[in-house]
């Protein structure tokens, strides 16, 4: 739209700046082409620095057509009203060090901040020096390899048994680059009340927002973690880690084993993920949508390297998977990218098959089809006596659909065909869609029911 028409309800006028204000870190409308170089420089600086976030620039049509003398691109690295990197206050580091050194049962919980801050190495050194168990939020997954002996698993509503229960047993809880989302904390007034809490975050508005921290360490964790590591003592915490192992054993026997190696005829999501994970040896980037398949993938996929798990965490946006997988492949062309998506979420953004066709991007897509909006169905089963409402959904013929876009595709309905089909998909050089029919009414467990404390996690 031309700038002179702004506010007149002209053809296709949408107030994009105001619509996007609540969901952007910063946005700006350019009405004069002269502004473009400086505003773009500012936009890139803001999007990537501090706590990264989306920025949006709206360029009016007149500015798009306008000719001007291009002064060249000067990167932006300072905005006076914006402080991306707080200077670290030593006294809080010292307080945190004392708490950690005196702790008998410390638990580290980490989130995406470790990955966004490129602080995986610093994080590993930190936990290794004092032998502390570390549990992750789903956006923190892959920052620490799954097979690391101190990696005790996933936090939250569908997380692992041990880290949830022991959150309410530890004496010091060290949160690194995570924001105590309600899906992680469960009921807040019964969350880690016995523990001293240390919260490392780059965003001061997160400290004390949901959980009051005893020590708030405001700063970039790439800088704060080494300072903590320097101060903390080397400790053997194998006894404390053994407690986690006990819980892990119980969970394995009651939940994990029956899901990963089911004896029932119908396939489970977990066995599909297990097979994919084994065949790719944990080296693929797994992109998920939102729902049961997402929880199952995050629970059961094992990763060797950081930035291997792409998912919509706190926002929980269905439809995220397919476009995100395309982006992931463009961003990491040398890696295998596998999108795992439910039959519900896939239909929300399946037009992106067109993008795959047009760009030839080699994304592998697995649709785990349970013929339901599975997670909502699970809630309706558990909390509304199976009074199913709008969760029983129909799917198109995905194989034909993919083929109409020129994408090779197959459908698997029986266990005996699964491994072969996954191998065929992975051997295919171009994009590929594999639809796997899984049990209709399987539930994801463990589960912390809404309104319950993390230690009230149910195994079934």
């Amino acid at each position: 739209m031309f700038a002179h028409l702004l506010g007149t309800d002209a053809f296709q006028e949408t107030d994009v700046i105001n619509i996007t204000m609540p969901v952007t870190k910063w946005n700006y409308q350019i009405t004069d082409a002269e502004e473009i170089p400086a505003v773009l420089a500012k936009a890139f600086y803001l999007a990537r620095s501090g706590r990264p976030g989306p920025v949006l620039i709206d360029i009016t049509k007149n500015a798009q057509l306008q000719k001007f003398d291009y002064p060249g691109y000067t990167p932006c690295n300072h905005i006076r009203s914006y402080r991306p990197k707080p200077v670290i206050r030593k006294e809080y580091i010292d307080e945190a060090v004392v708490l950690i050194n005196n702790a008998k049962k410390p638990l580290v919980i980490f989130g995406q901040g470790v990955i966004l801050g490129k602080a995986e190495k610093e994080f590993k050194k930190f936990i290794e020096k004092s032998g502390m168990p570390a549990a992750w939020t789903i956006l923190g997954l892959s920052a620490l390899p799954n097979d690391h002996p101190q990696n005790v698993g996933m936090l939250g509503m569908h997380g692992n048994y041990g880290p949830n229960v022991l959150t309410n047993d530890c004496d010091v809880l060290i949160a690194v680059g995570m924001r105590f989302d309600d899906r992680v904390t469960g009921r807040l007034d019964k969350y880690a009340k016995q523990a001293k809490i240390i919260h490392l975050d780059i965003d001061p508005s997160e400290i004390d927002k949901n959980v009051k921290a005893d020590v708030g360490v405001w700063g970039d964790c790439k800088e704060t973690l080494p300072l903590l590591t320097l101060g903390i003592e080397e400790k053997d915490r194998s006894e404390w880690l053994a407690v986690f192992a006990d819980y892990a054993k119980q969970e394995y026997d009651q939940c994990i084993q029956p899901e990963m190696y089911p004896s029932k005829e119908e396939m489970t999501m977990a066995e599909v993920i297990r097979n994919v994970n084994e065949i790719t040896e944990g080296n693929a980037i797994m992109v998920t949508d939102v729902g049961q398949h997402q929880m199952v993938t995050c629970r059961y996929a094992k990763f060797n390297q950081s930035r291997s798990n792409v998912t919509s965490g706190g926002l929980g946006t269905m439809g995220f998977g397919l476009p995100a997988a395309i982006g992931a492949k463009f961003g990491a062309q040398d890696r295998e990218v596998i999108a795992v998506i439910g039959d519900g979420g896939f239909q929300m953004t399946l037009q992106e098959l067109g993008t795959i066709m047009q760009t030839g991007v080699a994304v592998k897509i697995i649709i785990l089809n349970n013929q339901f909006l599975g997670m909502v169905r699970q809630w309706q089963e558990l909390f509304n006596d199976k009074r199913y409402s709008f969760v029983d959904i129909e799917s198109p013929n995905y194989v034909m659909l993919a083929k109409s876009y020129g994408i090779e595709a197959a459908k698997v309905e029986h266990r005996k065909d699964l491994v072969g089909a996954v191998k065929t998909m992975l051997a295919h050089k171009e994009s590929y869609l594999l639809e796997v029919m899984v049990g209709k009414e399987n539930n994801v467990f463990p589960m912390v029911p809404q309104g319950c404390s993390v230690s009230e996690i149910r195994l079934k």
Binding site: I17, N18, M21, P22, K25, W26, N27, L46, H78, I79, R80, S81, Y82, R83, P86, V87, R89, Y92, D203, P204, S205, I207, D208, K209, K212, G216, W218
Partner: protein, 200 residues
């Protein structure tokens, strides 16, 4: 220790860049929490080119603190403060339009206006406009007193407030303009006062 869940009046002072749309960005932070803004004023500040928002809400300290941090997080916001009424000096301005006949005929009205320290800012054949400044209770009282005598129009401005403790923004701004900020700025003021601020 004071109760942090008790609601009371807070005056939030925000120093910002002069940017179109920033008002909306700040307003959203209140509206998403369903907090009613009781008074909002934007004006220039003591520093050229820096704007100053004065916002009044009735909320608990806990909530105000979180809101203020989210305001300060906005890219174009330099600094945000919040204060209780005993920490600030504030004024509001009110205008009253009264029919000239009422005033000229009734001695009582004239006395009332004098009592409240009202000034006439416009005198016309048919009506007179008076002005008072003060706290809300004060400007309200005159409105109530004038009501029986044909108060035609009443309007009151937003609150403007000066923070008693503040040394102004000149020095702070110099710090903001430096690439490597000084101690005063980098210190997270809320973290420094946490003991006094939080209970949950």
């Amino acid at each position: 220790m004071q109760h942090n869940n008790e609601k009371q009046e807070y005056t939030i002072t925000v120093y910002t860049e002069n940017q179109v749309g920033l008002l909306n960005r700040i307003a959203i932070i209140f509206s998403r929490r369903k907090i009613n803004i009781e008074s909002l004023n934007t004006s220039p500040s003591e520093v050229q080119g820096i704007h100053r928002f004065t916002i009044v809400v009735t909320e608990s300290r806990d909530v105000v603190l979180k809101v203020v941090r989210q305001i300060e997080k906005q890219v174009e916001v330099l600094k945000a403060y919040f204060n209780t009424n005993d920490e600030i000096v504030w004024q509001e301005l009110a205008l009253y339009k009264v029919l000239s006949d009422e005033i000229t005929e009734k001695v009582k009205v004239e006395r009332l206006l004098r009592e409240f320290g009202a000034r006439a800012v416009a005198i016309r054949k048919d009506f007179i406009v008076f002005e008072t400044t003060g706290h809300r209770e004060e400007t309200n009282k005159l409105m109530e007193a004038l009501a029986p005598f044909g108060l035609v129009e009443f309007v009151r401005s937003a609150r403007v407030a000066i923070i008693k403790e503040s040394a102004g923004f000149h020095e702070k701004l110099k710090d903001f303009e430096k690439r490597e900020p000084g101690e005063e700025l980098i210190e997270n003021e809320y973290l420094g006062n946490r003991g006094a601020v939080f209970t949950m």
